[in-house]
Symmetry: C2
Subunit: 213 residues, 2 copies
Amino acid sequence: MKKIFDNISSQNKTKLLRILKAHQFTFKKDTSILSTVKEENMLGIIIKGYAQIIRTDHNGNRTIIEELEEEEIFGYDISSLGNKEYDIIVKEDTEVIIIDYRIILNCEANNKAFYNTFTNNLLEIFTAKIKEKNERLEIITQKTIRNKLLEYFSIMSKKYGSKYVYLSSTFTNLADYLAIDRSAMTRELTNLKNEGFIEIKGKRITLLYNEYI
Amino acid sequence: MKKIFDNISSQNKTKLLRILKAHQFTFKKDTSILSTVKEENMLGIIIKGYAQIIRTDHNGNRTIIEELEEEEIFGYDISSLGNKEYDIIVKEDTEVIIIDYRIILNCEANNKAFYNTFTNNLLEIFTAKIKEKNERLEIITQKTIRNKLLEYFSIMSKKYGSKYVYLSSTFTNLADYLAIDRSAMTRELTNLKNEGFIEIKGKRITLLYNEYI
DNA sequence: CGTAAAATGTTGCAATTGCAACATAACATT
DNA sequence: AATGTTATGTTGCAATTGCAACATTTTACG
């Protein structure tokens, strides 16, 4: 996946961050970034480390919304941080850069090539995020658990051009992603297995049908 | 809402479109844009007229996904046009400009102020789209119809700072937006009404509770 | 290596939901 | 103003789902 500093030399990266008046912070493992930075116009970049966007609903259930690795970005609007159920937690000691979004938009460094590379990277990342969310909406708007699963399989299988779908995470997290009850999902997966549509071995799901229409 | 040519003079707009090698098309009422243009890297702009992104599911049910007015944009990734269930239909005679996305990303016009205004507008529009989709996901991931409605009300009421929620469209379209059955939605709205949580008068819903937690 | 925590599998049951079918109301078009 | 179309309201019923509870397996970590 596209990273924010792709095709920018580390020299230019330094210049860029100066131009953007970037502030660097270091967060200790298991602390919240939001407690320090929660301006509406901020854009954050993970420089080193690893963080998660976590949602805690009003019943106290915690779910991972997004996982942020090095050079990945987050922000008030693009990460739903305006919603008080959401928080960003650093899962190891992590360096973060915070930029005021308005500075990017009104920056006078238009003539610098590396600056344009930066905004173009940002555009590409945003496009990817929109695509990702469209996909998830496509899946979640299906009315039954079975159709959600089949839609998910269809998208994954097209994306990787394979009849194998590998879970990047756990079945528990898949249920969260699909916004369905985990046990109900297991039940439906078992049905699909018994009806000969799929095969499950660990985190690998094999699609035994040719096409889902 | 932000428009793609905001703060760009019509002179500069002409220059910009030349630089971006934009192609202009005119579509007659009720025709499909996709039939003419379906490259992966295209970005479309409605210049004059009105179009809708329509989804026709495998049962033949048609739903409006998005409505596109003048200066609004669409694209392969950002509008799910890779999915063959989706189409863009022009609802009146409409002029459309198609740009190759890669030209925007690799354009050498970095030094032109209006070019940067353009990419910044694009960034803002993308941010707004991401926010919008986050909101919809937030709503749809609720498990019950009641909670979907309450979440929707909560977001709308915060957005406009009012206890009144005005439907921009029909209840039928709201049910589509929430990805629930229309009659089941009406049933739940009636329940909420009878339990004294809301009041409905035409397209105006009044929230009679102080806060939804 | 042992133990606690997290993930998985399973099932009964009640609640929620989608679906179909219909009547009526509102809207649009000629 | 008449007529066809779309939206709304309502309800019974079967199917789906979430929830709770539990056993078992796997993973993480000191």
